[in-house]
């Protein structure tokens, strides 16, 4: 399954959750599949979607927070796994869409092909860690994760569409933040 379809599948299971999307195609695919005020689109600040998700989850335990992260993003901020494990917010689900490349800059490889990010999450001490391959039922795995007490970590190995040309997010950044905060 390619990332765009994986994201569309995940969004079909989302209800009132707050979603923080990593920069690049993850934000673009989410925006184009189903824009909603409770989506925060990171445009720059690679690596920091997971930090924002953790900060939000701590700030308001009543909010269910989902992070749509990427392998390149997580590798840039791998220490966040240790922070999530230590703080252990029950309302945080960290989904990593792992296509083993920096997709939006042309598909250059990351190093995730030679290691397993779900093992890193387990090693840091995150409780619910699930890994799914490209042919498995990722929506069911995501629903299951949402139903359980967090923190959850869901690694989805996805494919890449080399012809992907998903349009950019066309909402001004202050509006992305303001409507998310209001929602």
């Amino acid at each position: 399954m390619i990332m765009r379809d994986a994201i569309a599948g995940l969004l079909s299971a989302v209800k009132d959750e707050y979603i923080i999307c990593a920069n690049g195609f993850i934000s673009r695919d989410t925006f184009n599949a189903k824009d909603r005020p409770r989506n925060f689109y990171m445009l720059g600040s690679m690596g920091q979607a997971s930090s924002m998700g953790l900060g939000l989850a701590i700030a308001d335990p009543r909010k269910k927070v989902v992070v749509f992260d990427g392998d390149g993003n997580l590798l840039m901020n791998l220490g966040i796994l240790a922070m999530i494990a230590q703080i252990s917010p029950k309302n945080l689900i960290h989904v990593v869409l792992d296509n083993e490349c920096y997709d939006s800059t042309g598909g250059q490889p990351t190093v995730s092909s030679s290691m397993d990010l779900s093992e890193a999450a387990k090693g840091c001490g995150i409780k619910n860690v699930v890994r799914k391959g490209p042919s498995e039922d990722i929506v069911a795995a995501f629903r299951d994760c949402l139903a359980k007490e967090g923190p959850g970590f869901l690694l989805l190995k996805v494919g890449r569409d080399p012809s992907e040309k998903t349009p950019r997010v066309n909402i001004e950044p202050p509006e992305i933040a303001a409507r998310f905060k209001r929602s």
Partner: protein, 157 residues
């Protein structure tokens, strides 16, 4: 200014989310904050955490050494400043006046102008002037802007 007094001033201004990466000059305030302080792995991660907390209704403060400005510039310029996400930066000032360990000299010379270059207001404090700097910071933060308070050695007892 003593650490308990600084903590009280911060709380009175409504700051209620504290994270960062420590510096020996910030040891006292981090100790005073106790469980209110969340240790971050890196300064940019701390800024990310603070941004999320802000969107969740909190008023965040990030503590760091000025060496952390390097890691922070990307998040300040591509998150805080473009989305109007405010944060109070409390930055210990190593290398002030060119007197410190070698790793602090260059950042010590340029940290204030780095903030100015990206459009973040700042003030260098050495003690009781912290109070008025925090009041000024609060005004900027209410307008959605980050503000940096530089803290010299001995400013917090």
């Amino acid at each position: 200014m003593d650490a308990q007094g600084l903590k009280k001033s911060l709380k009175e201004l409504g700051f209620d989310f504290f994270t960062g990466v420590p510096c020996s000059l910030l040891g006292g305030i981090i100790r005073a904050l106790g469980d209110d302080y969340i240790p971050s792995v890196r300064e940019d991660t701390a800024l990310g955490l603070a941004a999320g907390a802000y969107l969740g209704g909190r008023k965040p403060c990030v503590l760091m050494q000025n060496s952390g400005i390097g890691y922070s510039l990307n998040v300040l310029t591509s998150l805080n400043l473009i989305y109007d996400i405010p944060v109070l930066l409390m930055i210990s000032y190593r290398g002030f006046g060119g007197k410190d360990a070698p790793e602090h000299i260059i950042m010590g010379k340029h940290c204030v102008e780095l903030m100015e270059a990206i459009g973040i207001s700042s003030r260098v404090c050495s003690g009781q002037d912290l109070e008025s700097a925090l009041a000024e910071a609060d005004g900027q933060i209410k307008n959605g802007k980050p503000y940096a308070v530089f803290i010299r050695e001995g400013a917090i007892s």
